[in-house]
C-alpha cells in the first residue's frame, strides 16, 4: 500500500499554494506565471509526481482508451494493423485495449459490452466471419461512441472505414493467373456476409469477363478459409468436370491447405495448377513453392484507421461525418503461380 501517492495537493501544501494552480501549471495553462510553473514543475519532478489518470479522466469524462476488436491477433494483417494502431494511439495519448473475437459473433457481442462498460472513447473494429447482424453495434451508436471499421467492414450506413481495394486485388490476382495461361480458375471465397470476400469475388468475376473467360458457378467454392477448408476445397475441385489449372484463394491459409493436399496427390504447382493467395502471411514466402499473394498494408491500415478514429473523437458528436479511406493492395509474384513458359521468356 506504500504506492507513491504524490498528488497535486501534496505539491500545493508544500509550496503553500492552491492545488488548482498546481493543476493548471502541470497542464501548462497560461493562467499561471512562468515562475510559478517552474517552481511547481521542479517540485513535481523532485517528488516523482505522476498524474492520476483515473481522477483526471473521471473529471473530464474521457478515458483516453480505444478498443480494438479483431478476429485473431495471430493473423499477419491484424498483428501488423495493431502495431500501427498502437504506435499512433500512444503518440496521441491514447491507450489501446485489444480484443479477439476468434471469429465468433457471440464473443464479439460480449467484447462490445466490455468496451462499453469500460467507456472507451472509440472503437476500431474488424468483424468476425459470423457477424451477420449488427445489433451489438447499436450500443456504440446510442452512446455516440465513434467507431471505425478496418479491413473487415459492414455495409451499414454512415460508417467510417479504412479498407483496401479488395475488388482491385481480386481483379489483379485473377488477371495474373490468366496471364499465366490459366483457363479454368477456381476461386476460394469466404463468408458472403463480409464485404471483403464479396469484393474479391467481384474482382475475380470481372477479370474473367474482361478476358473473355467463361464463368462457371461451380468454380466458386465458399468456406471459412481455414487450412482444413483449403484441403477440402482442393478435394472438391479435383472432382470437378473441368481440368482446373488455377486457384485464386481469398486468403493464404486456405491456399496453403490446398497446396499441401494437391502436392500429396502428385499435382505440380504451378505447372498443373497455379495458385494465388491473399494477405501475404509471412509463411507464404517460406512454403514450397513460395506463394504468390496480395500484400495488404496492415501497418498503414492501422495507422490510418486510428488517426481517423481519433479525429472523430475530437470532433465530438456534433457532426460525425462518415469517411471511407481505401488503400492500395499489391500483388506479390512468387513461384506458386509463375509458369515455366513465363520465366522461359526472359
Amino acid at each position: 500500500m506504500e504506492n507513491n501517492k504524490i498528488t497535486i495537493h501534496d505539491i500545493a501544501r508544500i509550496l503553500k499554494i492552491d492545488s488548482s494552480t498546481v493543476s493548471r501549471a502541470l497542464n501548462d495553462s497560461d493562467r499561471v506565471t512562468q515562475k510559478t510553473k517552474d517552481k511547481i514543475l521542479a517540485k513535481a519532478q523532485e517528488l516523482g509526481y505522476q498524474r492520476n489518470h483515473l481522477a483526471s479522466n473521471l473529471r473530464k469524462s474521457k478515458t483516453y482508451t480505444l478498443g480494438v476488436i479483431v478476429p485473431r491477433i495471430s493473423r499477419h494483417l491484424f498483428s501488423s494493423a495493431i502495431a500501427g494502431v498502437e504506435e499512433t494511439a500512444y503518440k496521441m495519448g491514447y491507450n489501446v485495449i485489444i480484443c479477439q473475437s476468434l471469429e465468433q459473433l457471440e464473443r464479439e457481442r460480449n467484447i462490445v459490452g466490455t468496451l462499453l462498460a469500460n467507456r472507451v472513447d472509440g472503437v476500431l473494429l474488424s468483424v468476425s466471419m459470423e457477424t451477420i447482424n449488427y445489433d451489438h453495434l447499436q450500443g456504440l451508436k446510442q452512446r455516440n461512441i465513434p467507431f471505425v471499421f478496418f479491413d473487415r467492414h459492414c455495409n451499414i450506413s454512415d460508417n467510417s472505414n479504412v479498407l483496401i481495394d479488395d475488388y482491385q486485388a481480386g481483379f489483379d490476382a485473377t488477371e495474373h493467373l490468366i496471364g499465366q495461361g490459366c483457363k479454368h480458375i477456381v476461386h476460394f471465397s469466404g463468408p458472403q456476409n463480409l464485404e471483403i470476400y464479396k469484393n474479391r469475388l467481384k474482382g475475380y468475376l470481372s477479370a474473367l469477363q474482361i478476358y473473355d473467360i467463361e464463368f462457371r458457378k461451380d468454380l466458386i467454392i465458399e468456406s471459412r478459409l481455414m487450412e482444413i477448408d483449403g484441403v477440402e476445397n482442393a478435394k472438391l475441385l479435383l472432382e470437378l468436370p473441368y481440368k482446373i489449372d488455377g486457384i485464386f484463394s481469398a486468403n493464404d491459409i486456405a491456399a496453403i491447405g490446398a497446396m499441401q493436399y494437391l502436392k500429396q496427390q502428385g499435382i505440380r504447382i504451378p505447372e498443373d495448377i497455379a495458385v494465388v493467395g491473399f494477405s501475404n502471411e509471412p509463411i507464404s514466402a517460406l512454403i514450397e513453392p513460395s506463394l504468390t499473394t496480395i500484400d495488404q498494408p496492415g501497418f498503414k491500415i492501422g495507422k490510418t484507421a486510428t488517426t481517423l478514429l481519433i479525429s472523430q473523437i475530437h470532433e465530438g458528436a456534433t457532426k460525425m461525418k462518415s469517411e471511407t479511406i481505401i488503400l492500395k493492395p499489391n500483388l506479390i509474384e512468387r513461384k506458386s503461380s509463375l509458369r515455366k513458359f513465363e520465366s522461359g521468356n526472359y
Copy 2:
C-alpha cells in the same frame, strides 16, 4: 454528449433513497434488504445503468487492469499466451493492456513507464532480447506493483515466474538428434542474457555429455535468431572443419532460415543434416520438410501466469512471496529430423 449518463444518484433520486444504499445494493452488500435490492436492481436495469469504472476505481484506487509486455504479438508462443491471459483476466474482472517491446530495451522501458502512468494493478512480462539490466523494473518494485515473468524471465531475486523447462526441452531435442545418428550437432543459441537460451544450451550440453559426444565450442552459434540469422548461421556451419549432421536451433524461425539456405545449397534434410527447432510456430508444420520442434503450452502459460499474478494482487503487498511454476514442453517429431534408417526400422 448525450452519452447515457445514468448514475447511482439518478436511481437514488427516482426511488427517493440515498445513493449510498443504491451503491451497496448494486454491490450486493448485506447492509441492504433484499426487497430494496430488487427494487434498485430493477430500476437500474430499466434505466440501462452501467457502473462508472473510473469513479469506482478512483475511490478504490485500483484499476482492474493488467499490463502485458511481450517482444511481439505475432510470435506463436506470445499470441497463444495472450489468449490465455485474456481469458483468465476477463473472467476475473480484469482488463488487459497488451504492449510489444519489439525486442527493444528502450521500448520496454517506455512501456513500463506507460503502464505505471496508467496505474495497472499488475504486470506480465516476457523480456526483450536486449534486456540486460533491470533498472526499468525498479519502478514496479517501488510502487509494490506485482509482476510475473513468463517464458522469457530474468534472474533477479524474488520474482515470480511461469516458465517451461527449457533445460529439459534442450536435452530432449538434442537427445532426439543423437538418436537419429547425429554426431556433430550445431546449436543455434540466442542472446545469453536470456535464461531460456542459457537453459536450452545447458540441455544441449548435458545431452552431449551423457551420450559421450565430444563437445566443441565452435558448434555453438549465437545470434538473435531471426530468419536472416538462420541463413548466416547455416553459411557459417558449412565452413566448419567438421561434417555437420544435425542442428538444434533455439527457435523455429532461425531453423527455417537455415533450412532454406541449406536446401538451396543442395544439402538434403534430414539425410545430410537433421534439424530441430523450438516453439512449434504454425509454419513449422507446413514447410518442406516439416520441422521437428518443441511445443510450448502457450495458452496454459498465459493462464497460469495470470492466475498467479492476480492472486498476488489480491494478497496485497503484505507478503508477496515469489513463486516459480515450470511447465513441461513437448517434442514434436516431424520430417526434418527423422532419418530414413529410422523409418526403415518400422
